[in-house]
Symmetry: C2
Subunit: 362 residues, 2 copies
Amino acid sequence: MTEPRTLTVALGERSYPIHIGAGLLEQGALLAPYIEHRRAAIITNATVAALYAERLERALAGAGVSCLRIEIPDGERYKDWATLDGVFGQLLKAQTDRHTTLVALGGGVVGDLAGFAAATYQRGVPFIQVPTTLLAQVDSSVGGKTAINHALGKNMIGAFHQPRAVIADLTTLDTLPPRELASGLAEVVKHGAIHDAAFFAWIEENAEALVSRRIDALEHAVLRSCEIKAAVVAEDEKESGARALLNFGHTFGHAIESGQGYGAWLHGEAISAGMVLAARLSAQLLGLPATDAARLQALLARLGLPVVPPSMPVSRWLEFMGRDKKNEGGSITLILLEQLGRARIEKRAPQRAIEALLAGPA
Amino acid sequence: MTEPRTLTVALGERSYPIHIGAGLLEQGALLAPYIEHRRAAIITNATVAALYAERLERALAGAGVSCLRIEIPDGERYKDWATLDGVFGQLLKAQTDRHTTLVALGGGVVGDLAGFAAATYQRGVPFIQVPTTLLAQVDSSVGGKTAINHALGKNMIGAFHQPRAVIADLTTLDTLPPRELASGLAEVVKHGAIHDAAFFAWIEENAEALVSRRIDALEHAVLRSCEIKAAVVAEDEKESGARALLNFGHTFGHAIESGQGYGAWLHGEAISAGMVLAARLSAQLLGLPATDAARLQALLARLGLPVVPPSMPVSRWLEFMGRDKKNEGGSITLILLEQLGRARIEKRAPQRAIEALLAGPA
């Protein structure tokens, strides 16, 4: 058991730490101080529960915290109201009060749904994030975005609700299926692409180490991703400006996820293909160097990620892209790259260029 | 058309005005400045829409604001997820973005549900309250509490989300059924009982004027109620302390509403019977003078409100009271009166006393 690496998401009164390290799940003394009244409800799914729930419960019990366990089905298509309503029902039946801390143990689906449960159960209860997938550790567990999906759009119903702490145990990545690992790496690449060309180059150099799960490489990837995300979130918690940059690849990506049915493409897979599309448009509209676009595509492919979007009618792309939360007054807002390491918000991308991109040969 | 009376809910960056007066619905120039991007979605019910929606839409259109209208069914039992999901569906189909202001036109059900829609649609959009019932004008539209009901408890799912403004048009009270008017008066009485003995005495003196809807009496009742509520909310926005005092009568009242089925008792009716129970317990436990308890009961009766609770098994009372959001660590928190005009939070009311009260002759 090593000392965790710790950084802070600086949000005034709502600031909180991110702890990153191997074996943190078992450190009751690290976890318990974030559970003020020593009562917790762990929200997890059956897959993660079988691997890690007892370990976490034992650590918390050892630190004097009592735990209720609530399991939800595994998969993006369950990130919906029906599942959330079931969580509320179990919390109410157990007469869980406002002073019980919800603990999200799992990947992005568990974290988003449990976070939204915490944002709205009895008008808000404390929660902590214990992300067990790379995607959740480098992205979704940090920054307080919580949500469920609506039949008409992904993450359309949600809230900003910051956790009290994020505990990223790197050993949980050992059990991750390769597709899920790659999905998380897509967001790691995104952080380099939008914000840090040196980090992008580091990922290029360490692609094989990451895919083979070398712990030092994973630690650096998680740490640097969290640093970048924490900096952006601290500057713009509720996405009135710069935070939208974290959405690079996501407008196209969300359309892929919604258009193909939740779960057919993993989030990171859709974001990967989405980033390739956004880079192509960036080359056309902002003069992103062709070498940069090529490096991005090559790196994603080396990490085992799809770089070709699925075939969908242009009208279907536009239908889903038209519902993106970044949009304003009926026109589509996109995040584009000026060069590797520098992104910008583009509110006036010509509709014609978008349509040609989506209609053209992939 | 007279000048509105205006007060402010002082919450720093989230401060907002309450405008109270006759004919405000028609004052586009008063309303429009709160709708920043000149796009609004009015959420209302069929009953209120038939009376007031066109008037409001005309006023907004005259001030350059475009409006989408969304109607929900009328009644507390529709303050649930199914209705909310329908609202989200209509907002998404119309590609309503984060810069559209939701306008809650109606009573407490519309305000609570539309407010929660605003708190969670695309992680939060602006909204304004246009309350058309006395209950909503004196209580639910002020303070940012939004919620829907869960099958296992009232207002269990919600958020704190402050409106940009509250516009209380007193002329809308003309069309209110007498039971609904009385229901609102229960909350007016509550404000006097917990905070202001002089206001309580004023209500006693003006009970007939209020029941017969004399506009000057209603204006004072709404204004003073909003002043009291605004002061309490400014001190404790998220109910970590003093705000709980506004819950006088509500622990018993919510149990009546849930136990009898939503809508069988109006909210204010249940609160009225709940306040009588709480006053009886206050006499026993805190020495509330018998004359004070008698004055409270007599005033509620003069206003046409029920003062005798429905007959329910004690176990059923306790089941619902055990789910109250104020509770902590398994024991029931109650708001009791020390005297008329002064309330306090009681976290350790003896279970035996509560059971005897509920079992005893009404």
